[in-house]
Subunit: 479 residues, 2 copies
Amino acid sequence: MFVNRMPRYEILSPDAMALLDAGWRRLVTEIGVEFMSERATALFAAAGQRVEGHTVFLDPEFVLEQVARAPRGFDVQARNPQHSIHLGGDSMAFGAVYGPPFVREGDTRRDGTMADYERFARLSQSFSVLDSAGGVVCEPNDTPLDSRHLDMTLALMTLTDKVFMGNVVSGENARDVIAMSEILFGGREAIEATPVSISLVNCNSPLRWDDRMLDALFEYAAAAQPVVLTPFILMGAMSPVTVPAALVQQIAEALSGIALAQLIRPGCPVVFGSFLSNIDMQSGSPTFGTPESGVGLLCTGQIARHFGLPFRTGGGLTSSQVPDAQAGYEALMTLLPTFLAGANWVMHSAGWLEGGLVAGYEKLVIDCQLLEMLQHEFTPLEIDEASLAFDAHAEVGHGGHFLGAMHTMERFRTCFYRPFLSSSENYERWVRNGSQDTAERAGTIWRQRLEEYEQPPLDEAVRAELEEFVVRRRRELGD
Amino acid sequence: MFVNRMPRYEILSPDAMALLDAGWRRLVTEIGVEFMSERATALFAAAGQRVEGHTVFLDPEFVLEQVARAPRGFDVQARNPQHSIHLGGDSMAFGAVYGPPFVREGDTRRDGTMADYERFARLSQSFSVLDSAGGVVCEPNDTPLDSRHLDMTLALMTLTDKVFMGNVVSGENARDVIAMSEILFGGREAIEATPVSISLVNCNSPLRWDDRMLDALFEYAAAAQPVVLTPFILMGAMSPVTVPAALVQQIAEALSGIALAQLIRPGCPVVFGSFLSNIDMQSGSPTFGTPESGVGLLCTGQIARHFGLPFRTGGGLTSSQVPDAQAGYEALMTLLPTFLAGANWVMHSAGWLEGGLVAGYEKLVIDCQLLEMLQHEFTPLEIDEASLAFDAHAEVGHGGHFLGAMHTMERFRTCFYRPFLSSSENYERWVRNGSQDTAERAGTIWRQRLEEYEQPPLDEAVRAELEEFVVRRRRELGD
């Protein structure tokens, strides 16, 4: 996985941070946070917090005490140990897009299917820059609704040997994922010792945690599986229109969710989540890769570090309908700040199109290209006598060229990052090769990757047990 | 013009800076710098530097003494005072692409013409985010070679009222530009009091300054017109393959050129220039928007500040042949670091395609979109009680939405930056509107801008005098 040893770009002054700090404290104290779960409110009440109906009025100091129980960082094991990750510190892990009902393949936009889901899982396995296929890479709309979490989890576990995300549609679904994780990793004890999944629990912003996701949170936290507590904020709709207000709300929501996780199981691994963009105030449409979201992202990193928590934000977000120039620049408008902020867990890293409604095959390739470039860019320079290359100047002289210099010959194979998608062909050669734009070249690449894909090995007994579990549970669910 | 009050992103440690500092000192002392001009070597010899043939072996302390004579920042006046700029400190000024022989308009790539040149000048006038059309926005290949500098300068002076760049093909050309500047601004004294042009003098890297550009430097420096002394480095060809070596070379070249400018006219305004990317080591093609160039750019800003000099770097660079996803992400891979580094003078900000061989109409629009987004992103947040919007939460409550909240109503018109090119239309609407990708929308925008373009007013006597000058000089030049 990638470790970002470059400096963080921090833009909040101590005064600004103090104002944000006062802000979330006032919110949780005076407005409170709604938890649509009796189990949740009961836990808060038992811990001495004031509860009125579903609303919990939180003592900020109590919240911080709970937050302090969360680890500053933790490992998540993949079934291939080479793909295990650390969440926290300078580590950055990347997952594919999560949630789109549609897919785009070239000029075709259509409903996602299980075949698409499996192809995206294979591609996520194939691109080394991705640490995870994520969870719902696309909705497999052709599978039965009640049991598709089983199909998706099985695909993630068998087609990839990377870290996977857990289903959060209900507590029951979460229990299924945990049961399958126990099969894959050898029992409850093994997955509690080092977690094996990451799950996304979104806040119904502003300031409300819904029951089904909380049920999932209860299951995962009890099993010591990390949960990403994510305020889902499109500024102007789910928060006030000002970035500082959104940041304050984000802190209140994330910390209140994290406090609950710590009440469920003290010390359980959690991630400070952020999904922060804004709407177009004329149309109401969500917009991505915006200046406001970039600024919010940078602040989020600083805030998460302030509370000593691993954090999730960023991704290759765009509003664009197709993998065009806008898709390229909006994705990078989020991904580059993601690296500047040093986000630990980056969902939607690859494949996001059309505001997250579409998982794009070509876009996935484009984003993987961006991730590789950024990982190279955010690798510190080595500066020493050899890299200063004085002798090369003595060899080449004024106005010469370095193509054949000894210093060059020793390094030319590895000195520069070589992109797999971007073209620097001269015009004539580019025309001879078919005048393909980036999206067309990306189409060739993902098809080739699928052809070359090899399924990672898995113990046959384990595979059989997973498949039996899926068959049994599907029957029980009536699908 | 834009003032970047966000923090700078600096990645060089003091130790690293000390190594780079030792590096350039050794280069200028032991390898020396070639100046292919007797006037230049004579000035260095007279100032006590060792000269052998064209090579000047420089005492680093002498270089720093000369550099210290240069202003840390200076104004450049435009004929419309609202478009005057400051170069230095937190100020950032942006010019269009410079130098392409070809243009791209939609699917057509062809030789640039004077009509293209004038259209690009009008577009540069039209987009408020550009402070200058630059100089050679494209080569007007259908005009006579010896006198086209007159046509270009006249177009810049009459079709725009912004800062313009001077021609550097020869000393004679430079004298013509200065003469025309005197006509436009009311005499030599006026343009010496506050400069009116910026000129680009490139080093023939490694470590050689050529005669024709030096002749231009002599003219502009003598007239107190700012010159951007720019090492032109594609790592692997014009410098060693390591970024630190390129940085050291860049310092040696830029400072040696700046020292010469100060010998010509002590105190004359100069800019520490950087044009730094790398070649593809397999094909030899120049590549842009690369991780290595991004790192080099960030370091360049820090280095220029170390020497107390305004600096030029960055731009919307790309190798892409068309305004596609690669063009979008590569442009931003350079432009975003340009803002992080706080570059003062940004050439090639808009319109650059195909490694700088092509000026693209659609690409110019895309880049102007990026510049606007970045200017918004690099504007510090205001964080105060009002922006924290506590009352909006009290009004909206848990799980509500803020679309109709008082706090929103007061701010919705201006709260978020609204892009002019990016689309966030929902899919059905986007299809109804013709399924246009970003490049197609950009095509509509530049055509509309040209239709709406209004030539900035100019005193008729001045215009007549400029035109007479051009006619007379063209005749003298035999064209």
